[in-house]
């Protein structure tokens, strides 16, 4: 229930309430974005170079593989997230309140370990021997931590870490959406003799579709920004995993190892465009956020 425009008083007092926030939004939100854009279209000396930095970063041979890496990672992560999170929520939706809440608590707990803690923890998990998953790793033929990270296993390992930390939060969101389905709808389905699986797939899923789309877009945008996992694994592997594995690690590599701020800014503008397009799609193309 959103209020109609009439209830808001036309007053300049509004500026006083939003002023501090707007100042901070400009200082650490809009200004850095504009400054990065400015750096991206200029040379080291400050001369305007148009798209040269963008073209150069794509030609240098590291950016395309980096984008391919995160495309694979994001595809694995999104698929797992949709199947497992929606599946688990549909199952817990049929449980008692208490049991469901306890289950969601267990799933949400790993969120406390997000960031570098989860990467260090999962490096222990992926190392055969002391890992509690030792039997799984042996069954998969992994002898060393390196086996768990080599070749095509790397994006899988990153998706595993991201999923372990992030799935719980999404389980809360999707559960919230399911909890909002009116009881009458489910009762009507039961009267029409729809079984639990039919109800889940043909009644509940269509009703929460927009939240699933929300999860997909936000996760996709976050996936393109991958940084902590590849940076730390590169560190832990003594550089055998490239420090330029993802676009963000490549950008920081250019900025801090080569002092090439202009090309680094070009890559972060690429990523920022992806993020803004995703955000705009959510605001303007879904009806999740009222712009009243």
């Amino acid at each position: 229930m959103t209020a109609s425009a009439g209830v808001r008083s036309r007053s300049r007092a509004g500026y006083l309430f939003v002023g501090g926030y707007v100042a901070l939004l400009v200082l650490v939100g809009i200004w850095p974005a504009v400054y990065a854009f400015d750096l991206a279209v200029t040379s080291f000396g400050g001369a305007f170079t148009g798209l040269a930095n963008f073209v150069d970063t794509f030609r240098a041979g590291q950016l395309v593989p980096a984008f391919v890496h995160i495309a694979v990672f994001t595809a694995i992560w999104l698929t797992t997230l949709v199947v497992v999170v929606v599946g688990l929520c549909l199952v817990t939706h049929t449980l008692s309140r208490r049991l469901g809440a306890a289950f969601r608590f267990v799933c949400y707990l790993p969120a406390a370990f997000a960031g570098s803690a989860s990467v260090l923890l999962w490096l222990f998990m992926l190392q055969p021997g002391p890992s509690p998953w030792d039997f799984v790793l042996r069954a998969l033929g992994r002898q060393t931590l390196g086996d768990s990270l080599a070749g095509g296993n790397l994006p899988v390992a990153f998706a595993l870490i991201a999923f372990w930390c992030g799935a719980g939060g999404w389980i809360l969101v999707i559960h919230g959406a399911l909890a909002n389905i009116p009881n009458e709808v489910l009762e009507a389905a039961a009267l029409d003799r729809a079984g639990p699986i039919k109800t889940a797939l043909w009644i509940k899923v269509p009703l929460i579709k927009r939240w699933i789309v929300y999860m997909l877009i936000v996760t996709f945008a976050a996936g393109t920004q991958l940084f902590a996992e590849p940076q730390l694994v590169s560190e832990a592997s003594k550089g055998m995993v490239d420090a330029t594995w993802s676009p963000n690690t490549l950008a920081t590599f250019l900025a801090f190892q080569h002092d090439n701020f202009n090309e680094a800014a070009a890559i972060s503008v690429d990523l920022l465009v992806v993020a803004v397009v995703c955000a705009a799609a959510l605001v303007f193309r879904t009806r999740l956020f009222s712009v009243d």
């Binding site: 229930m1 959103t2 209020a3 209830v7 808001r8 008083s9 036309r10 007053s11 300049r12 509004g14 309430f17 939003v18 501090g20 901070l24 939004l25 650490v28 200004w31 990065a36 199952v91 809440a101 608590f105 790993p110 969120a111 370990f113 997000a114 960031g115 570098s116 260090l120 999962w122 490096l123 222990f124 190392q127 002391p130 890992s131 060393t144 931590l145 080599a150 372990w164 969101v173 936000v218 945008a221 920004q225 940084f227 940076q231 730390l232 832990a236 592997s237 003594k238 550089g239 950008a251 701020f261 680094a264 800014a265 920022l272 993020a275 803004v276 955000a279 959510l282 605001v283 712009v291």
Partner: protein
Amino acid sequence: MRSFDISITLNISVRSRPWSPRRLVPGLRQLIAWCLLAAAGVFFALPVVWLLLETTRTQADAVDGSALGFGSLGQVHLNWDVLTQTAGELGTWVGNSALYSGSGALIAVALGIPAGYGLATFDFVGRRPLLIATMLAMLIPSNALVLPLALEAHALHLLTSPLAVILPYGLFPFGVYIAYLYFNTPRIHGLVAAARSDGCSEWQAFRYVALPLSVPAVAIVVVLDFIASWTNYFLPWAMYWSYDVTGRFPVALGIAEQLAAGTTGGGYPLRNLELQTAAPLSVEALLILVSCVPVVAVVVIAQRWIGSGRLQGVFV
């Protein structure tokens, strides 16, 4: 005697129903559902359980014993001693994290709650664009702005200053949006209008009527901003890591240093890689656990004031 009769009857009635494979289906479905939930529960919980057990073990236990054995409580104390020796700056890291995340959450509340109120209560030129900008900003992943922020901080000579991470942590557009939704209800609009007609100034109407009602919104903003900034790795990394100002490191960078410190040379194939950390396994496990205690504490404390919202699903 009577109950015996009944049980016999029940038994017979169950047996006499014609058997059909369809009757197995609900039971089978239930079984599959329980197996799925159990598997997911183990996946999410096992690393945490392992972490708790590992802190009670010696290095010998970790190598020889089973992965999920219990050592002794005394060993936790010994591991703690090793941790404070090898990670000598642990106190500094935790203090820094608390300073950055605490100040960030404070700024997020001090600026975000009034901003949400302003957007919900007043009509002013630029209100709609500001609301749209807020929604866009809250949906852009925080990592997207880290490198631009580092470039800006470099230009402003703010790199390696605590402000370089505190100010970005203080910008929490999602909190503004939560506050906006919270205040944009007929109930709050009515109460504010009544306060005005009773002679309250705009500030008084906010301070004494709307704000006291917004405690759940404040608690949610504090929890979400605190968790996000405490676990943030990229922003402090970009501001402090390359410049090696270890005195500014938050816990997240301290953990990263455990991996970097274990690094020695290289050059052999990735397949042979074994993990090397600055301290033994059980000590690193303790560090990971210590790093997340404040997050859990903040959630548990704030839970008292959160009546609704995203966290509700967990606790209700």
